[in-house]
Amino acid sequence: MIKKEMIAMLLAGGQGSRLGVLTLKMAKPAVAFGGKYRIIDFPLSNCINSGVDTVGVLTQYQPLRLNTHIGIGIPWDLDRNIGGVTVLPPYEKSTSSQWYTGTANAIFQNIDYMETYNPEYVLILSGDHIYKMDYEVMLDFHKQNKAEVTIATMAVPLEEAKRFGILITDENRRIVDFEEKPENPRSNLASMGIYIFNWKTLKEALIAKAEQPALDFGQHVIPYCHEKGAPLYAYEYNGYWKDVGTLQSYWEANMELIDIVPEFNLYEEYWKIYTRSLTLPPQYISSESVVEKSIIGEGTTIYGQIYNSVIGCGVTIGSGTIVRDSIIMNEAVIGDGCEINKGIIAENVQIGNEVRLGIGEEVPNETHPHIYSHGMVTVGEKSVIPDGVTVGKNTVIAGTTDYDDYMNKSLAGGKTLIKAGDES
């Protein structure tokens, strides 16, 4: 009989609407990160590096990019005879078919999958954080304490604690109480949304709470286990962990990679991060180029000047173009003589010649001031921007745009230009 000690369930169905147009056509875990990676590469690499070789990936929102990226799991060595990676979308049942209505509901609908592997422990992960973590160490902690549920936590500054789920523990790290986004936090231990459950405990709880609408781990399953008196423990993690849920934090996390010795170091020999690489060739930097304080992916060709930026694979940057403080994702093509300031340029974007992005005064965005802020210019995947256009700050562009979409070849600061459905 198949027996896996611990299997992982990776929640990757969320839209991540605060990433704006980046998630228009793909789920948040599929968004590109750090030049050549996608966000989901981090938890998947953590799994295989921790010796967890059975991973169910729960998908729901726009799963195409995620599915093609994961495939049969070859880049992460997750193509296994028994176990490996399995993509788990919601499915029709003979009675009560439904979408995944909450994090725990998604897991509940896949009890059969987990049962196949006859696990002792189930690791619940979310697909939207950048970190390196050895889940085996967390499992050791779980076993040592004879816990039924272990929640990974990290200490956050007390003033920020009100943005998180906060855990209150005794001196042995056993959880005595918890608060969701408290006004006056009693502790600074924030939940990272990473749980290890004893399979028996998890299964019992999921079945008992099955009728709960929008069944959620933090709101329903964990409190249920606590009320029943199951031993809950808080595992404290001290490494780098970054939530990239907003455009601002996404931009910051990318920019942290270009520091001299980045806090999150991709260049360490052990704990490699794996991804599906489609491009192999080296990058070419021409005679008139300048590249300073940047990271650049494979197969990219640079004729312009790059400062403080994260450039993906297979990108072309034309001569005379100046890129500053920007993120440019795979296969984007930027013409000659452009200027790009604090841009987030998604995959396969085509920008013409003499285009200037991020020019002028900062004006709050007219439609989504909380998403498109901090002076960024966000350009959605496969967008086209014609020659000679000038674009202000806190702007967003998506779709194939032409001169009719711009006033005198310019888009004022704070404007939203989304031509949905325009695929080239």
């Binding site: 880049p75 080296p282 304080k293 992916g297 197969g299």
Partner: protein, 372 residues
């Protein structure tokens, strides 16, 4: 499938000088991200040849590591696959491969147990892209016994280190010389042959009986008046890398946009083992001009007109010009490197000075990395 593939990757060449101490030529790193054998393997895969045998002999450690999985070239299949033949002592044979024909003879079962009618033989020390099916069609159309892919080299090329040949207007080969002292023609053999499988078995067995072991000398040249051997001329890019000068200039060719476009952008791709390295990182003070930089590099200094392979560290205030830095090299601060090839995994101490004065200097220091 109409053909199986054989890649001859056993060779060493004194013209590679110190570079071949470490590895067979087939495993020489090329163009930042590849190894020499990737070109033949990718061509086989892109020509839909599913079953490929690689014959190795000389220092194959590096090559075996590169070929440890066949999935990168899409050979990990139930039908066919990648077979590596290293010489072994058997009941009736205790020799190394005494030549290319002997290598095939010692593994004749590979040919006998296949069912495909044709065999494509290629060598692993050439950089090119080719659809072997086009050559195979030509071979069938000409009703040839053997087809040899050949190329006219520009005047002034030192063709004496190749096989040179002369064809008549029908493309039938009339004259074939291996490494002649004085070449009569500047048409050279590219080391790519097509032959019917049964024909090859027959010729190899006959040669073995006569104690002859070399495919070119003892089959191609010996049989040139008996068998119909045709030439198939190519005009596309093709380079052999089996000398330090050619190895250097082939790598430098990739600084030209049209060469990069041909190999990197145009379909089909060249495949290689994926190394899962992070993007290249350029710190303050780095200045790059007309150079290829590979993934996993960290660059602090100046690099000009050079090819930098994977996982290279270049320290502060370094100056690298017209050089090739092979994989996983660490270069300490304030180092000057000009007209050099730096051997892989080497560590160059800070404040070093290396300059190739008359030609290319090969730098092998073998310093310990962590007592810098």
């Amino acid at each position: 499938m109409r053909a199986i593939g054989i890649i001859l990757a056993g060779g060493n060449n004194h013209r590679m000088k110190e570079l071949s101490q470490k590895r067979a030529i087939a495993a020489m790193p090329i163009a930042g991200s590849y190894r020499s054998i990737d070109f033949a393997l990718s061509n086989m895969s892109n020509s839909h040849i599913q079953k490929v045998g690689v014959f190795t002999q000389y220092n194959a450690r590096s090559l075996n590591e590169h070929l440890s999985s066949s999935k990168w070239w899409d050979f990990g299949r139930k039908q066919g696959g990648l077979f590596v033949f290293t010489p072994t002592v058997t009941y009736d044979n205790s020799f190394w491969y005494r030549g290319t024909a002997d290598a095939i003879y010692q593994n004749l079962a590979f040919l006998k147990n296949s069912h495909e009618p044709y065999v494509i033989i290629a060598s692993a020390d050439c950089v090119y892209k080719m659809d072997y099916n086009k050559v195979l069609e030509y071979h069938i159309e000409k009703k040839a016994d053997i087809t040899v892919v050949c190329k006219d080299m520009p005047a002034g090329t030192e063709v004496e280190r190749y096989g040179t040949l002369k064809m008549n207007e029908e493309c039938l080969i009339e004259d074939f010389e291996e490494k002649p002292i004085v070449a009569k023609s500047n048409t050279i053999s590219c080391g790519i042959y097509i032959i019917r499988r049964r024909q090859l078995i027959e010729l190899i067995e006959k040669s073995a009986e006569e104690d002859r072991h070399d495919f070119v000398r003892d089959i191609l040249i010996r049989y040139k008046n008996l068998k119909k051997i045709y030439g198939y001329k190519i005009k596309e890019y093709w380079r052999n890398i089996a000398s330090v000068e050619d190895y250097f200039s082939t790598n430098m060719d990739f600084l030209k946009p049209e060469i990069r476009d041909y190999f990197f952008k145009q379909y089909p791709d060249v495949y290689s083992k994926v190394d899962d390295l992070p993007p290249a990182k350029y710190n303050m003070g780095s200045q790059i001009r007309n150079s290829l930089i590979s993934s996993g590099c960290i660059i602090n200094g100046i690099v000009e007109d050079s090819v930098v392979f994977k996982k290279v560290f270049i320290g502060n205030n370094c100056f690298i010009k017209n050089s090739i830095i092979l994989n996983n090299v660490y270069i300490g601060d304030n180092t000057h490197i000009e007209n050099c090839i730096i051997e892989s995994r080497d560590t160059i101490r800070a404040n070093s000075y290396h300059k190739g004065e008359n030609g290319i200097k090969i730098v092998i220091e073998k310093n310990e990395r962590y007592i810098l």
